[in-house]
């Protein structure tokens, strides 16, 4: 089997959530030629895109997104290692965190994996992240995008505080801010004043991709 055929099968296997086949194909690609790791990573991006599309269309539910992300999380370190450090192209950098007062991270972690699969360099600040910590991290990491996550309604005011802190530090022209999570509605988005909102991880990735394409 050529590397290319294996790669296209890999995308298909991930889209079908066939974990044993994904693992087998990744092993095969790496053992045949470590240089084809970049093809495998591209295949994983394409497979994850298909999972996202099926999620958007209602064929897959969140269980499928989470499972696919877990499979990807398992194989990415091996693929990354096979590539020479620093030779991997990224399409942009995103800073993620669950805002102050909220300790929930399932949604944020899912977004981190699919953003990574989509080619973003992801810096994850963790949970209960204070507005000032976001500001400091923006200065340090110079991301294109900042993603604020929250599950509880108590995260709404800290999201606004974080957006306000980014503006007060004069960083709003450097970064786009997207907010996401269960409590976010169009009204809450307007109140918080971020650049975009979503409570759908696949849609969030699409928004961020569009932003970096424009830049």
């Amino acid at each position: 089997m050529t590397g290319e055929t294996a790669a296209s099968q890999l995308a298909e296997a991930l889209a079908e959530l066939d974990e044993p086949k994904v693992l087998q194909l990744v092993d095969q690609i790496l053992s045949e030629s470590p240089e084809s790791a970049s093809q495998a990573i591209a295949a994983i991006q394409s497979g994850m895109d298909q999972v996202g599309e099926r999620f958007q269309s209602g064929e897959y539910f969140l269980a499928e997104m989470i499972f696919a992300a877990e499979v990807v999380k398992g194989v990415m370190p091996g693929l990354r290692e096979a590539l020479k450090a620093g030779s991997q192209k990224t399409i942009g950098k995103i800073l993620l965190g669950t805002v102050k007062g909220d300790i929930h991270d399932i949604g944020k972690n899912l977004v981190a994996v699919i953003m990574t699969a989509a080619g973003f360099d992801v810096v994850d600040l963790g949970i209960d992240v204070r507005p000032n910590s976001f500001v400091e991290a923006i200065k340090e990491h110079q991301p294109n995008i900042v993603g604020l996550s929250g599950l509880l309604t108590l995260s709404i005011d800290p999201m606004k505080e974080t957006v306000d802190a980014i503006k007060a530090a004069g960083l709003q022209d450097q970064v786009k801010v997207i907010i996401g999570g269960n409590p976010i509605t169009p009204q809450i988005h307007e109140m918080v004043g971020a650049d975009a909102w979503t409570n759908n991880a696949a849609e969030g990735v699409a928004i961020c991709k569009k932003w970096v394409e424009v830049q």
């Binding site: 959530l17 974990e19 209602g58 064929e59 897959y60 539910f61 969140l62 269980a63 499928e64 989470i66 499972f67 877990e70 007062g101 909220d102 300790i103 929930h104 991270d105 399932i106 509880l152 309604t153 108590l154 709404i156 005011d157 409590p183 509605t185 009204q187 809450i188 109140m191």
Partner: protein, 393 residues
């Protein structure tokens, strides 16, 4: 009980029971899930409430006095911290000790049980829970005898003190205000129990793909315990009111085909078994349930209230002749809207959901944080429903 209070109590019970049985009462009943929101409303922290039950009772009583809804929402999410401290629990984060004193408790996703444990769980869930899960979830219970036994006894005594004080207040509120708790008793459908307490959400999402047969078998093994928990926590003889509370967590993350395979068998059996034993339930239907409406339509008619987080108008059309619907008002409107906007939305929701009966006005979520509802919004909504929520108006 004075004659006026007795009459008020009877009116409220008739209004609620008629509505739950899918009939048209005199007017739309109203009751908000005023959970930890009662702390900020009465000017105290959540930390104070979870240690000092008289403060908790005072805060709940202020809401009863000020809003006079048709039932009161018991503080199921305001957990007595001394009970958890006594056993050294490790699973939840509590106000004051782990979180801001005014934060509602939070529940990190943890998996004390591993996927390899399924055979042991399935063989004897009670034994597995006592021998392996309780010491992992509560560190004092892992200590050598007699420390583990003393810790369990301390936890039991602390829980007894909590129940005694709350029980006395609930009895007094019937006499003094003519108001009963909406909920009595709580359980978790088997798959949620497995997810919430042992495998974690991330864990169970993996298990349905990697260990599907074991998840099905574990839910079957767990089922008798979930029924027993519902009946034991209700206390006393079976009754159609108050309602047994069933918070549902994983269903809306499952495809209908997976819901049918993993969740529905033990979930529908729980509701049917409770119904045939004389109980009625309140399901907290978090998330978007529309893909699962065809299942809810098969539940026993007039025995179930569904608290809808979303899509209550769609639910009215699809399942309104099977389950009584509760909800209608989003917390973003309650917390960030004006009283006028809230009343306009209340009017719209009542027009869509009240016809034919079987509708209780409420928020789509429990009220947890100060920004989940402005008091003046709840006041305006309450006034409007009492004045204009009549069926013969």
């Amino acid at each position: 009980m004075s004659e006026n209070i007795e009459q008020l109590f009877q009116e409220r019970m008739a209004r609620l029971n008629t509505t739950i049985a899918l009939g048209e009462p005199d007017r739309v009943p109203i009751c908000f899930g005023s959970e930890t929101w009662i702390a900020s409303y009465s000017g105290i922290t959540i930390q104070e409430m979870v240690y000092d039950y008289q403060k908790l009772i005072g805060a709940a009583e202020k809401v009863i006095q000020d809003f006079a809804w048709d039932a009161h929402w018991p503080p199921l999410g305001i957990w007595p911290a001394p009970v958890f401290n006594a056993v050294g629990q490790t699973q939840y984060l509590m106000a004051g000790s782990d979180l801001d004193p005014s934060s509602t408790y939070q529940w990190p996703d943890r998996s004390p049980m591993s996927a390899e444990d399924y055979p042991k769980f399935i063989a004897d869930p009670m034994r597995f829970i006592f021998d392996e899960m309780m010491p992992k979830r509560s560190l004092e219970l892992a200590k050598p005898y007699p420390r583990n036994t003393v810790a369990l006894a301390k936890g039991g005594i602390a829980f007894g003190m909590y129940l005694t004080q709350l029980g006395a207040a609930f009895g007094r509120w019937v006499e003094q205000y003519g108001v009963a708790p909406l909920l009595g008793g709580i359980s978790d459908p088997a798959m949620d129990f497995l997810s919430d307490h042992y495998r974690g959400f991330q864990g169970i999402m993996m298990d349905i793909k990697r260990h599907p047969d074991e998840v099905v078998a574990a839910c079957e093994a767990m089922y008798p315990l979930t029924l027993r928990m519902a009946m034991a926590s209700f206390g006393g003889p079976p009754a159609p009111f108050p309602l047994v509370f069933l918070p549902l967590h994983v269903p809306t993350y499952l495809r209908p085909v997976d819901f049918e395979k993993f969740y529905w068998p033990t979930f529908s059996r729980l509701i049917n078994d409770l119904a045939s034993n004389g109980y009625k339930c309140l399901l907290f239907l978090e998330g978007d349930w529309e893909p699962h409406f065809p299942f809810l339509a098969q539940l026993p008619k007039g025995h179930v209230v569904g608290l809808m987080e979303r899509k209550i108008v769609e639910a009215k059309k699809a399942i309104g002749d099977t389950i009584c619907l509760m909800g209608g008002l989003d917390v973003d409107l309650l917390g960030y809207g004006t009283p006028e906007e809230c009343v306009a939305e209340t009017k719209r929701v009542i027009e869509a959901c009240a016809p034919g009966g079987g509708f209780i006005l409420s928020g789509g979520k429990a009220l947890l944080s100060p920004n989940d509802a402005k008091p003046e919004n709840l006041m305006a909504i309450t006034k409007f429903v009492k004045e204009s929520g009549g069926y013969d108006a």
